[in-house]
Subunit: 302 residues, 2 copies
């Protein structure tokens, strides 16, 4: 498989598979979620179960045109109940992907984290993996965690790295290059996160992560900019060519990606990781495109 280096390539790849992933959407009533779902159905990559309060659906398209055989509506007016049913469908295998519609995030998370009926296997951690398409970068840039884990412990960080390796492999990246990001490339155990990074580098050298390249601490210049990175004269096996950024904390990951969306024309997709099946958890403010890319990301991972 050729590696997927843009969202356009991702969509083409999924279309070429001629198979649809089944998505259970919890309370899909808002316009952006519905339009993203319609687009995924029309592109031939998804079949959708819209579970929620039919009376409050915002999109007239659902009723205007010939109903698609790949869109199924399940009327459950109570939002929490609809969410639980969507999770049940995914857990039972009736659907492959869970997606958040107009539901409060904490309601969805409660359903996912339910020990009996939820989607998080024991020993796994819930986290968020984003993928950025930045016009001036030569490939997709995966990163964690901008949203769920504020300040990962070293054990959690190792899980984040392992999840990111699984994710990038699904995108056809055989030997992903993973940068442990910090403000400086000088390892100093007195600075927060540095000791964790040094421990992870040791585990990587011992082969714990398999056939991947990990380097850190690295700053953004060294991880993503060959020219600026070279001036620093710090040899790195991934200089300017990272596939994955593991950020020290969610404050830094969040400011980084939002800055690039506002000022560098970046587009983003994202899914929850650690769950037994992919979960698409976008925010109400996200564009239709962004929600569609997240659906596509979930489909390729599924």
């Amino acid at each position: 498989m050729k590696s997927i280096s843009s969202f356009a390539e991702l969509t083409m790849h999924l279309s070429s598979l001629n198979s649809r992933e089944r998505i259970a959407v919890a309370n899909a009533v808002d316009l952006h979620t519905l339009d993203a779902i319609f687009h995924a159905v029309e592109t031939g990559i998804a079949e959708a179960f819209l579970i929620g309060d039919v009376a409050s659906i915002e999109s007239p398209r659902l009723f205007e045109q010939e109903p698609s055989p790949y869109i199924h509506i399940i009327d459950i007016p109570e939002v929490e109940q609809a969410t639980v049913e969507a999770v049940r469908m995914v857990k039972s295998g009736e659907a492959d992907i869970l997606m958040k519609g107009l539901v409060n995030t904490d309601v969805l998370l409660r359903a996912i984290l339910d020990k009996e009926k939820g989607l998080l296997p024991a020993g796994n951690i819930l986290s968020f993996c984003g993928a950025l398409e930045i016009p001036k970068y030569h490939k997709l840039l995966f990163f964690a965690d901008p949203a769920v884990i504020p300040s990962p412990s070293v054990e959690q960080r190792i899980m984040l790295i392992k999840y990111s390796i699984e994710t990038t492999r699904k995108f056809g990246i055989e030997k992903p290059k993973i940068a442990l990001v910090h403000a400086t490339e000088k390892p100093n155990p007195k600075i927060r996160y540095m000791q964790d990074y040094m421990d992870i580098m040791e585990k990587w050298r011992a082969g714990e992560f398999g056939d991947v390249i990990i380097d850190g601490p690295l700053d953004i210049f060294l991880a993503l900019d060959r020219e600026r990175g070279s001036i620093k004269n710090v040899p790195s096996p991934l200089l300017g060519d990272a596939d994955v950024l593991i950020f020290p904390n969610f404050e830094s990951a969040n400011a980084f990606y939002k800055g690039l969306m506002v000022f560098a024309g970046a587009e983003m997709s994202g899914i929850l990781q650690g769950t037994s099946k992919p979960v698409v958890l976008t925010s109400r403010s996200e564009s239709v495109e962004s929600k569609f890319y997240s659906i596509a990301m979930a489909c390729v991972i599924s």
Copy 2:
């Protein structure tokens, strides 16, 4: 004074003043530092004292042309000694600005932090203030702290805010808009830094910061992007129009600005704050332009 909203306006403003700030440069022997200094002297904004190891000067320009009456060379071959002399000149009033040349940062910091001979008044904190010129933003964007204080305490953060108010006023911004940045705009005291932000908001409401606008927690969308911020439906008096970003920690400030330099064509200047006189502390890898903008920033603050 009209507010200065770009580096070009900053240079024009300084040129129009017809006065030169005197800069003491510790071991100015590397090409980028020297070229930035030459440019500042040629633009008419600076007079330079180059204190250091003359034998190792990298720039042939110094000796090729008619020496400028505004460039003075003081030969002190030993770097630490040269640094101490540069600090002494600034402290004594023989110079207005200190600048780092080819000196290790810790050597310069040691000289600055010396209790007797240094430049940090008791009770002040040493920190870094950057100013970004981002092609897609409508004005300069000031921010702190990407380099010096890893995780500011609430007292340190209040100082950072006060320094940034002084700095923006020197740029003619009468009522600066200051955003306390976080991953989310929802104040939750369980999340790191949030309680500090809530305390600062209370002090601001009580008038402690004077005639400025402070709001937080805000994410990058709310602080810098009127369109994306509006969708969130969070009323903010600075929506999409921040002059200053106070970041939660140096990991987030650092990743933010470096991402924008690599992918959004941003240029940066920066100085040390908290010292009795401005200090220009750029890294060896920075471009001549970047070093020149930092000199200009120091000149307008001086």
